[in-house]
């Protein structure tokens, strides 16, 4: 981190110096940005296990520890299952924890992921989104993180390294809030985000400390001073009530996330709208919807379409769980047609659509004037989604808006050799 130049520092007026307190500008990758967030959050226990592309975050974390910039118990586990079980138990004792994985590694930990949510433990994990085997591919697909969407995990998708860092800090605050106590996974598209560098504002420790309170497990802490029994056999006598408590926590998460973004925006001068990002939506007649780094080619394509006089906008879904039903209904209420771009698949699903398309279709169904929804699958296995691909998609959506013969009962695969 570069200290501010003396000449500049002298000019700072004390009255205005308190907010916003600038951090440092760094050229870093998405993974390194998350590593900084973990350091700033003063995480207590971290477990690592190698799989590309998420593993880069642990390379940065281990360097920070080796160089004495960060103190935590750092354990290289012998499998992803153990990796997630270790931090699950550390969290029950009251430690702030961090973990992560990619692709089939995330699924190897699936049992641990299920019980972490079931136990209401506020683990924060990074998923470097990767295609599931087989066939092997290092590239991004969203099916890995989406696999836990029904279990109580909160799921965020980020588009830039800055957003990765900021969302990690927000994730700890939300997950560890007593009203929530649910784990949170931050999805970073493999390669496009995990390995790509951009300028990131890394906040100071003071800034983070004033935003993120310590994790307090309170009466649920496993300790000899608090001799509780955690996770006994509940069976049909109690399981339904316990599931209902998780349901209520997931509902409450919505307001806690909104509060966290309000505070984050106020303290850091950035952060944006919780749940979704709206891009050129004010007067949009058709909209594209997607998650993650798709945002970059989509935004370029939207600007190109605007130059051609087409009123196109883009809504990026930032949180998939809790799903932003209200925000999406609001953002899409004025458009005639929506094109959903899934970087995932759900073979055999309704209309053969991806996971996001069907979730969105469900969310918009109660609207009186719901737009037509056209579903697309693109960029699987890490294949690049080009600006031309997005222009092709947009043309189809405009066709649907204008009553053309585009089939909205089917799902269109873009950039695939048939």
């Amino acid at each position: 981190m570069t200290p501010p130049k003396t000449a500049t520092a002298k000019k700072v007026d004390i009255a205005t110096a308190r907010a916003p307190r600038a951090g440092s500008e760094e050229l870093i990758s998405g993974s390194e940005a998350v590593a900084h967030a973990v350091r700033l959050a003063d995480v207590d226990v971290i477990t690592a296990y190698p799989i590309r592309p998420y593993d880069t975050v642990m390379q940065y974390v281990s360097q920070l520890i080796a160089n004495g910039e960060f103190d935590c118990e750092y354990i290289v586990a012998e499998s992803e299952h153990s990796q997630f079980e270790i931090v699950k138990h550390a969290s029950a004792v009251g430690a702030r924890v961090f973990c992560g994985s990619s692709g089939v590694g995330w699924l190897y930990a699936f049992e641990a992921l299920a019980v972490t949510a079931g136990l209401r433990l506020p683990m924060v994990a990074m998923v470097g989104n990767r295609a599931l085997d087989d066939p092997g591919a290092f590239g991004v697909e969203h099916n890995d993180a989406l696999a836990v969407r029904d279990l109580g995990w909160m799921l965020a998708w980020v588009a830039t390294a800055q957003e990765a860092l900021d969302t990690a800090l927000i994730a700890y605050r939300v997950a560890e809030d007593k009203r929530v106590f649910l784990p949170c996974a931050i999805s970073c598209d493999g390669a496009f985000l995990t390995h790509s560098q951009s300028i990131v504002n890394v906040p100071t420790q003071d800034m983070v400390n004033s935003f993120l309170p310590p994790y307090d497990r309170a009466e649920k802490q496993l300790h000899p001073d608090n001799p509780i029994t955690i996770a006994p056999q509940a069976n049909e006598d109690w399981v339904m009530e316990i599931r209902r408590q998780s349901d209520m926590a997931a509902r409450r998460a919505r307001d806690v996330i909104i509060e966290a973004y309000d505070d984050f925006n106020a303290q850091f001068g950035r952060g944006g709208e919780p749940f979704i990002e709206r891009y050129m939506m004010e007067d949009a007649e058709v909209a594209l919807v997607g998650m993650g780094t798709l945002a970059m080619p989509v935004k370029v394509a939207v600007r190109k379409m605007r130059e051609r006089g087409k009123k196109v906008g883009f809504v990026r879904v930032r949180w998939f769980r809790p799903f932003p039903t209200i925000e999406l209904q609001d953002a899409l209420s004025g458009v005639q047609a929506v094109g959903v771009i899934d970087r995932d698949y759900s073979f055999g699903a309704s209309f053969f659509g991806g996971v996001l398309a069907n979730e969105l279709r469900c969310a918009l169904y109660p609207m009186a004037n719901r737009p037509a929804i056209v579903s697309f699958i693109a960029g699987l296995g890490g294949r690049e989604v080009s600006t031309d691909n997005v222009i092709d998609i947009t043309s189809k959506v405009l066709d649907a808006a204008n009553g053309g013969d585009i089939d909205d009962q089917d799902t269109h695969w873009i950039g695939v050799r048939e």
Binding site: V45, S79, H89, V93
Partner: protein
């Protein structure tokens, strides 16, 4: 490179739990009490009681899926007086590691008052010798983590209707290995030598022991030794199981003793690289006690009722090998080439 304040090799001291010399010296307090629903004659439930008693109140106990989870901890009627948490079937090693890691980090950072807290993670033979072996192996490599993995071995997946595990004896009848018209012996694997495998494979692990609950004082003192010596440790308990082994519940202790007297279950401890036999096994090793024939043990149990002479002979020959051919009799196989 400069040494930083983060000393990853730092040790946190353990509680000093002196051995109890005789039954009258044993603490009266119980930390595993009423509230469980184990079978009549369940040796594993007794093992839990002894283990918790030996460890005392400043302990955290973690339990992997198995009988001692399902039958022990029904919601609202826990028998655990000390803090207890369930862990997944293959996670005994990970649960202990994560718990110790949290205690270390939080104590070092001043987020928790510093004190030595015992961390014990137990598992059955399915959780330990089968599914959880890799996580236990990993736990035993963290030489600066004070933890005890306690494996209660009732020689089957007893909670799920008795299915063979890698720790079931050769030929045992189980719901996954029933003797039939064509195949009399469905379970053809020889029982894994788990304790010695872990001791031999993790030479920096300071303490590994085998026990049976019939030797209650010994069992408790092995637990106390493991918790006092520090670092990751492992205890393997053979627990006769009336339901899985098919015998009258009143014979649980007797069968445990017979397992030792026949040489099938050697009692030993490996402390800082030194093997020491104890109890009857010590006398078997020295020649002072003649091993009883395995037939006396096998024919007491319904799970071997389908055995014919040939099967008993095979079993006897395998046990003879343990004591006559092994590099360290009863513990380490191989012979010098």
């Amino acid at each position: 490179m400069q040494e930083t304040t983060i000393a990853l090799s730092d040790f946190i001291s353990t509680q000093v739990l002196e051995p109890w010399k005789g039954i009258k010296k044993v603490a009266r307090e119980e930390y595993f009490t009423s509230g469980h629903r184990t079978c009549q004659g369940c040796e594993s439930a007794l093992v839990m009681k002894l283990m918790a008693k030996a460890a005392g109140p400043r302990s955290i106990i973690l339990g992997a899926t198995g009988c001692m989870y399902v039958a022990n901890t029904t919601y609202y009627s826990t028998p655990w007086v000390v803090p207890w948490m369930h862990t997944q079937l293959g996670s005994a090693g990970s649960a202990a590691t994560g718990t110790v890691a949290a205690l270390r980090a939080m104590m070092r950072k001043g987020k928790m008052e510093e004190e030595p807290i015992n961390v014990i993670s137990f598992c059955g033979d399915g959780g330990g010798a089968d599914m959880g072996l890799s996580a236990i192996s990993a736990a035993l490599q963290h030489t600066h983590y004070n933890l005890l993995i306690f494996m209660y071995d009732n020689e089957s997946y007893a909670n799920t209707d008795i299915q063979v595990s890698g720790s079931s004896p050769y030929g045992a009848n189980s719901t996954f290995s029933p003797p039939g018209k064509v195949h009399r012996i469905m379970h053809r694997r020889w029982k894994k030598n788990t304790a010695a495998m872990l001791a031999a494979g993790h030479p920096d692990c300071k303490y590994v022991a085998t026990v049976t609950a019939g030797n209650a004082i010994d069992t408790m003192n092995k637990v106390r030794r493991a918790l006092t010596i520090g670092g990751p440790t492992f205890i393997h308990s053979l627990d006769p199981c009336p339901k899985g082994w098919d015998y009258d519940p009143k014979y649980s202790h007797e069968l445990g003793e017979l397992a030792t007297e026949t040489g099938i279950w050697p009692l030993y401890e490996v402390e800082e690289g030194k093997v020491k036999m104890y109890g009857k096994s010590k006398h078997i090793a020295s020649g002072a006690f003649k091993r009883k024939p395995v037939r006396e043990y096998l024919l007491r149990q319904g799970r071997f009722a389908h055995f014919v002479e040939e099967d008993i002979d095979y079993f006897q020959a395998k046990v003879d090998e343990m004591w006559e051919k092994w590099l360290v009799p009863g513990v380490i196989p191989f012979a010098q080439a």
